[in-house]
């Protein structure tokens, strides 16, 4: 099972990109493929576990609200009045005409997002989820159209949201969007093109870009190396520092074992990229907007601080990922979900304010995503894995104040509901991703490469929550 020469070249190239050290090698100039003028960034806020869309975006007109309460009586009982209509955050829709008499509101913990929505800086994509092609309830029941694999399974649907395929997928559309920016030949730094506060995110993985990890305290340093660096002026200190740095970067390492080589590359990328990133952080004033306590606030602050040093890092297109867990509310939903919604609300509002402080609010678009929506039916004190959900798109460039797609009526048995109210998406994830890609500057060809099923939806009107980049077509 030896590597062929051709394979070897391929893996060698991939490795160079992984380390970021030899990224110059990869900056081959292709024909101008995408527009990378100015700066643009996408921020994915992933709500791990499957957010309950029906407990986030509420039907607010009295008859439909009453219907919702009836359908989910035991859950409303658990809330003990906290989800009473008077406490919800009503939305003012600029496309109210599309919904007739129906009205909508957000959970009581989301006044900030309601404010952004009503100011036109946030939109809601309703009933969105993974699809291969437009699908009706009947087609689902008849199994007459191809469906996304392994529906309702956490890991597989996380993967499908991020990469249009179940677990095992290698490339996420965030990474492929960044690849397109790389291909424009502007010499953007690959190693800082996709950035996460988590781990090795599939969403941020492209052919040329791999996620770089930051936190609000910056990337981690090697204490041993830092200590040696501080003593370089002492006798023998410089030689010692150099040996140690060579050790941690693995530059001398020769073994041909693939796993060992990957570890060597990971150490190398870590040392080199963290040094670069830390140096860049020292050159720019910190963001002064205050962020709420909690994981999401701290993570979005780290993203804001990274955007603040975009020039020093030599990037004009970036994709970010932050994750927050706890949404798999099979149980104790009334106890657990409101706190999470409060975190989302506070952190996103602070992030938007930080983007305004940095003067890039027109250049940064944030959106939420999740494994799946949840069942309309209640299992006692929680809800189970569903399919379509409702998500937010936030930013100065967003044509907000609108709900795009649909918010199905909260009635069991009308939509695709094998008894429990799992909704067939009326908008596909790729249809939601496409306007962000066009805004990011991708050409149609690049968009179709990143979103493999998008062409299947060609007959439907595009969701116009972002204007396409004028130079990209």
């Amino acid at each position: 099972m030896r590597l062929s020469r051709r394979n070897f070249l391929k893996t060698a190239t991939a490795s160079a990109a992984a380390t970021g050290v030899s990224s110059a090698l990869l900056n081959f100039t292709a024909a101008r493929a995408a527009n990378t003028a100015g700066y643009k960034a996408l921020v994915c806020v992933f709500l791990f576990g499957g957010m309950d869309q029906n407990d986030t975006v509420f039907s607010f007109d009295q008859p439909t609200y009453d219907q919702l309460v009836q359908t989910r009586q035991s859950l409303f009982d658990q809330y003990q009045g906290a989800r009473d209509r008077q406490f919800l955050q009503p939305l003012t829709l600029s496309n109210q005409a599309s919904f007739g008499a129906r009205e909508f509101a957000l959970a009581p913990e989301m006044p900030g997002l309601r404010g952004l929505f009503n100011q036109g800086k946030a939109a809601i994509i309703g009933n969105v989820g993974p699809l291969i092609q437009p699908t009706t309830e009947q087609q689902f029941f008849d199994n007459s159209v191809p469906l996304p694999a392994r529906l309702f399974s956490h890991n597989d649907q996380q993967s499908t949201w991020q990469a249009s395929a179940p677990e095992g997928a290698q490339l996420g559309w965030g990474g492929l969007f960044a690849d397109a920016a790389m291909a424009s030949g502007l010499g953007q730094a690959a190693q800082f093109s996709t950035i996460t506060t988590g781990g090795n995110e599939l969403f941020l993985t492209g052919n040329q870009v791999f996620p770089f990890q930051v936190s609000s305290s910056g990337p981690a340093e090697f204490f041993a190396l830092k200590d040696a660096a501080m003593r370089r002026n002492e006798p023998g200190g410089e030689e010692y520092y150099q040996v140690l740095r060579r050790h941690f970067t693995g530059l001398d390492f020769q073994s041909s074992n693939l796993i060992a080589r990957d570890i060597k590359s990971a150490f190398e990328a870590t040392v080199v990229n963290n040094e670069t990133y830390n140096a860049a952080r020292g050159t720019v004033d910190r963001v002064s907007t205050s962020f709420p306590a909690g994981k999401l606030g701290s993570d979005l602050k780290a993203i804001a601080e990274t955007i603040a040093i975009r020039g020093v890092l030599n990037v004009s297109r970036q994709v970010f990922f932050v994750g927050i867990g706890g949404f798999d509310t099979h149980s104790a939903q009334a106890q657990d979900l409101p706190g999470l919604q409060g975190q989302i609300d506070g952190a996103i509002v602070a992030f938007q304010a930080a983007m305004e402080e940095l003067g890039v609010d027109q250049d940064v678009t944030l959106f939420t995503a999740s494994d799946f929506g949840r069942t309309l039916a209640v299992n006692g004190d929680g809800t189970d894995h569903g399919w379509a959900s409702n998500h937010f798109v936030v930013g100065g460039a967003v044509n907000g104040g609108r709900i795009l797609g649909d918010i199905p009526e909260p009635v069991l048995g009308t939509e695709f509901q094998p008894e429990a109210g799992r909704f067939v998406p009326s908008v596909s994830v790729e249809e939601m991703a496409a306007p962000m890609g066009r805004w990011f500057g991708l050409t149609d060809a690049e968009l179709n490469a990143a979103l493999p099923n998008l062409a299947n939806f060609a007959g439907r009107p595009a969701l116009n929550f972002l204007d396409p980049d004028p130079l990209s077509t």
Partner: protein, 611 residues
Amino acid sequence: MATRTGFARIALTVMACISLAACGGGGGGDTGGGTPPPTGGGGGGQTPPPAPQPASDAFETEDKTARFLAQATFGPTPQDIATLTGTDAVDWILAEFDKPVTLSLPITQDLRQRATQTFDGQFYTASNTNAFWTTALTADDQLRQRVAFALSEIFVVSNAPMGVLFDYPDGIASYHDILKRNAFGNYRELIEEITYSPPMGFYLTYAYNQKADPSTGRMPDENYAREILQLFSIGVVPLNRDGSVQQGAGELYDNTDITGLARVFTGLVFDGEIERFFGRDDAAYGNQVLARPMVTWDAIHEAGEKNFLGTTIPAGTNAAASVDAALDTIANHPNVAPFLARQLIQRLVSSDPEPDYIDRVAAAFEQGSYALPGGTQVGTGKRGDLKATVAAVLFDRDARDTTSIDPNRSGKIREPIIRFTNWARAFGANVAPEYVQILWFIDRTGPLGQHPFRSPSVFNFFRPGYIAPGTQSGAAGLTVPELQITNSATIPGYANFMTAFVFGGQVGNDTSGIADLFAREGVTGYNDAEARAAFQADLSAEVALADDIPALLDHLDTKLTYGQLTPETRALITEAIQGIDVSGPGTDEELLVARIAVLMILTSPDFVVQR
């Protein structure tokens, strides 16, 4: 040349608490000679001295012994390497199978009862974590302990979401003990004990799960039904026995199977009063309830017919009989053997096992028996026998013979937790986790990014099918699960964590923080000398070799990398330490040399990848 002050200063800060007494001749580390007399630690029936030719050559040399123990235990100790080399590995595994179980629950209870503060107290809530460290690092039944940890990454329960499993440490401890007690038992019994365990019932939210109520639209919770199939038994697609996917066979089940099976897992409840432990008004009571099996309550069990995976459980079947029937169906599914075989190999031996290796282990699982080298059969002969399965994993030619498979595709990444335990056992670190606060919270990226029984979700820290994008192993199609948590945050986290331990500084001289915590939380038994000594390594053998770098590296190579330390790493370490003057008697520099060498090996690909 002058001392390398960079490390010297770190070293000197902790020098006071390290005894350098044993600096005498070179004997300590050189145990290559004759077989030493057996030490008392082993189980009954030590092999007598005039041993015949061993049936297995797995302990033929020190390097081979160490390599085997790296796969089968939480890490070889110098004593194990010395004692076992030259003996028969078959005898060793048979003895391991017979050793009594070292349980976590009694240790957890002893620890938590030392604290006055219970809920929200760090010492109290860390008690099961500290029982994990104590048993992993010091228990005599090492194979069982190591296999139980592997099982904990397949049958995942986690207290990461806090809540009940954080409030009552006995819950996780007793779950840990289920894995230990059944590690050499049978899969069918294991999955039943798991199903009835309160921690799983709570974690996957089926405790108190009720039958459907058509009048309100309430449906049974589907969480456990889905995950027991997807993660604990059969996966999602039909497999051949060698673990390969049956092409064109589609998926194993659809959502109607899940809703059908969800009806089975209704009517399981804690054996106690729910208000009392959710109200957090009695720690002792809650701990008791969390440590005893759930019971059935047929009034809330779905009495109607249940259909899943082609099985029908007739209407009127009660909860216990329904669970029994469902677990029989699941445990007898042909996917279980390759599904578990592959993951056990991945946890112990190889990230990307060859199909024929999976097939041989799956066969042992199915047949319930395995012939060890020399012909001794292990296992009961009943499908699902884990003794046979574990033996098949460890004695397979792909595990033992390093030339059996392509050297470029072999090996696995040691998980961060295992890297730490390997270090601690290799250097006789003084195991006292109750004084080392960082060991209570190692899931954060800063320390190891991994914590026993605290994975971020039921999908563990990494997935068995993970192929890392943008890597050479990924381009070659290798699954390398641990690469999923290897990145520019966790790498420095690991290196820094180990730097502090290697240089004696996780507690070292400053015990004020842990002393304050003991006082604040009303923990009895504080002993400052023990706190200072906690996890200090015994480097006397290495210090003795500090003036002979090649001998020092040979010695560490056996201990940590089993003869696989590369010339490049040796050259770098040599370059780093050769200028340090160790000519004076009993100098601090000898310890410094040893520590730098150890740290550089621990942070080299040679060690991080176990081959």
